[in-house]
């Protein structure tokens, strides 16, 4: 597992039905591009988060493919319409096969 990986998510705790809410996500990750060399001239192998998804009550909201040019600690901000109370589930997929997950509940009135 890549070291120092920590997902962080900000979702409003409450909303009204049909509201458009803003979701912010950030994951600390080196996003090693595979283009850099170490002090001895050897290429540092690529190690990035290659995919990010968000689901709401099992329905996909966003599905992002990440490429090596994306800088360290990738941050995503997006909007979603929430029809009902439920749970957002966020998933980040690492090159090394690791999967990082985070979830947040939201009350809709």
């Amino acid at each position: 597992m890549a070291s120092g990986v920590k997902p962080r998510v900000k979702v409003p705790k409450t909303a009204s039905a049909g509201d458009t809410i803003t979701i912010k996500t950030l994951i600390s990750h080196k996003m090693e591009s595979g283009q850099r060399k170490d002090d001895d001239g050897n290429i540092i192998p690529r190690s990035i988060i290659n995919r990010f998804t968000a689901d709401f009550n099992g329905q996909n909201v966003i599905d992002v493919a990440l490429e090596p040019a994306i800088s360290t600690n990738p941050y995503f901000q997006f909007e979603a319409i929430v029809p009902e109370s439920g749970e957002f589930k966020f998933t980040w997929y690492d090159d090394d096969g690791d999967v990082y997950e985070e979830s947040k509940k939201i009350e809709v009135s």
Binding site: G4, K6, R8, K10, K24, L26, S28, S71, N73, Y75
Partner: protein
């Protein structure tokens, strides 16, 4: 003659470049920060002091307004992990002694650097002394990620408090030395700190909007470097840009300069960890 309109355009163009600080208000989680106040009494050539935040673009400013958006908070999180991590021969972490957590250090950052037993001490010194003497651990590199994460964590506890370093008594000789460095022209370009940050703040130096060089937000997250930058790293960068041989990070010269520059910000609220260009 076609010349005159051109001159007029050139003059307007230059005036347009010389935009001063903006007048927006920094507020984080409902707490409003003092980013503009009367200069401390010892400042002879400046009447109002401004936080560097006021000189940044709206996009950069916005990053500091929400702690979630502030990229420096990732490093503060790492600082919390380090605070609780056991290191060294004594089998201790910071938390072993400082049982109340980092909150114990509220207010400390506002008073640093300070003189202890006749020596000028800055935050990095305090941390490394404790690591070596109490924990039996290896000292951290001055501008290393571990060190600056810890400095930022401790500094964050004082966020919103006004800078208030002592410049009299024991500190006076160090302060005088720092002041001398501040007003000394260095390098092939023969620039002193004051040439840019006192005489020309608000003007552009090529693509950079000059601030007053206040250090109330350090360690700051610089977008350019994508990590936390120490005060001494920034001093070194500025002096290097004058094409001079710089002092070393952690040198007595930079500690004295840090005291003097910190005293120029007395009255501004601490913004640690700030976000800058």
């Amino acid at each position: 003659m076609n010349l005159k309109p051109w001159i007029a355009v050139a003059v307007i163009g230059m005036a347009g470049v010389a935009i001063a600080q903006d007048n927006s208000t920094l507020s984080i989680d409902g707490e409003t920060f003092v980013t503009e106040t009367d200069a401390p009494a010892h400042l002879e050539n400046v009447s109002t002091i401004y936080s560097g935040w006021r000189f940044r673009t709206p996009e950069t400013q916005a990053l500091q307004v929400d702690d979630f958006d502030n990229p420096a908070m990732i490093f503060v999180d790492q600082g919390i992990d380090l605070f609780n991590a056991v290191d060294g021969t004594e089998g201790k972490s910071c938390a072993s002694c400082h049982t109340d957590g980092p909150e114990e250090f509220a207010g400390l950052h506002a008073k640093m650097p300070k003189v202890v037993d006749g020596k000028l001490v800055v935050m990095e010194d305090l941390i490394n002394t404790h690591r070596q003497d109490v924990m039996g651990a290896e000292p951290w590199k001055w501008s290393g990620a571990d060190m600056q994460a810890m400095v930022a964590l401790i500094g964050l506890q004082s966020r919103g408090m006004p800078m208030d370093v002592a410049i009299d008594g024991d500190a006076a000789p160090f302060w005088e030395k720092g002041k001398e460095i501040y007003y000394t022209r260095y390098g092939q370009l023969e620039l002193s700190c004051s040439n840019c940050h006192e005489n020309n703040y608000g003007n552009m130096i090529r693509a950079d909007h000059l601030s007053q060089g206040q250090i109330n937000g350090f360690p700051t997250y610089r977008l350019k470097q994508a990590k936390l930058i120490s005060r001494h790293n920034r001093f070194r960068g500025c002096i290097r840009d004058t094409r001079a041989e710089t002092f070393a990070e952690g040198s007595e010269e930079f500690k004295a300069l840090e005291l003097y520059v910190a005293s120029r910000a007395n009255g501004l609220d601490i913004e640690t960890p700030a976000v800058r260009q």
